[in-house]
Amino acid sequence: MPSLPPIRPEDEAVAEKLRPAGAFDAPSDAHDPVRAGYLLRLGDDALILGQRLSEWCGHAPSVEVDLSLANLSLDLIGQATLFLAEAGDADRLAFKRDVLDFRNCWLVEQPNGDFARTMVRQLLFSTWQHMLYQRLTASSDAAVAGIAAKGVKEVAYHRELAAEWVVRLGDGTDESRARTVDGLDWCWRFVPELFEVDEELAAAVQAGIAADPRSFEEEYRAAVGAVLADATLPLPKDQRAIVGGRRGHHSEHLGHLLAIMQYLPRTYPDAKW
């Protein structure tokens, strides 16, 4: 098969000058929609759960737990800041976007409920996020790999802390057990979305930026199952899965969360910290 002659740098330079600049320019790296879309998913998951957890501040069962939850929240908001800054202007993305433009999963936007439900949600999400970040450290995208490498240690702690609490609550008093079962029942239908691979995610996986969550679904179910077994809780029955967050379909709870989170910068756009 005849091969093409190598491209000479001087020819390239000429071609560059001839090319008209305009609307039909190929998207540069900075505007790669697949990459930007994936960064929004990662950033929004962390941002929304961080905001949710911050609602506990001053209301947790004890001052120590208050600090634990605030630490988790701040870790997540830190990760969100990094991911969203890669996707664009982090502040604009966090505070000037409307609910339909958010790409987080349903699990993270769920109301805190009681402490048991908050901890169940944390176990289900942090276990997934930990397994995901572990794989993202090998992302072909240097920024994603770097943020994941920083975040994976934080999330490992979140996962352990949540597991410790779920075991104690599940295997605790009658009341703590009943509340934990209720929390699981509330959260379980949002788990399948974590493993959903739509076209957009498939493209990001194909590009090597994203990790395919299905590659660790079995590991995830085993890990969560082991914690629940420790907590003497039965694995919940599978419910009808609720999906759509990645495409902007959200529960009514997200709008309320955003109303509080975005109120200040939207009302006082020039406010300085």
Binding site: P61, S62, E64, L67, S68, N71, E160, E164, W165, R168
Partner: protein, 93 residues
């Protein structure tokens, strides 16, 4: 929460230094006490290692006995090694 026991927290600021008492936390058991201590006392890079001990397990001297326990040491200046001539060649003492 009110029935959570109290735990004393000791932090080692960096390798080579001793653990120092920094405060206490409430927690239902040792494992969570360690996590509470981590979240309460090392969130600003204060340490590289933690020790936790149940406050009830600490044997403390009786403040009422402070006089007989500690005051007799006050006038024993000869217990301080300040009367030796240190040769110039001896460093790091």
């Amino acid at each position: 929460m009110s029935d959570w026991p109290l735990w004393e927290v000791f932090v080692r600021a960096k390798g080579g230094l001793a653990h120092r008492h920094v405060g206490s936390v409430h927690a239902p058991d040792a494992e969570l006490a360690l996590r509470h201590a981590r979240d309460t006392y090392t969130r600003r890079q204060e340490g590289v290692s933690l020790w936790i001990v149940r406050s009830a397990d600490i044997v403390a001297s009786d403040p009422d006995q402070a006089g007989e326990l500690f005051e007799p040491a006050a006038d024993k200046v000869y217990r301080h090694p300040t009367f030796y001539e240190i040769p110039d060649e001896v460093k790091h003492i």
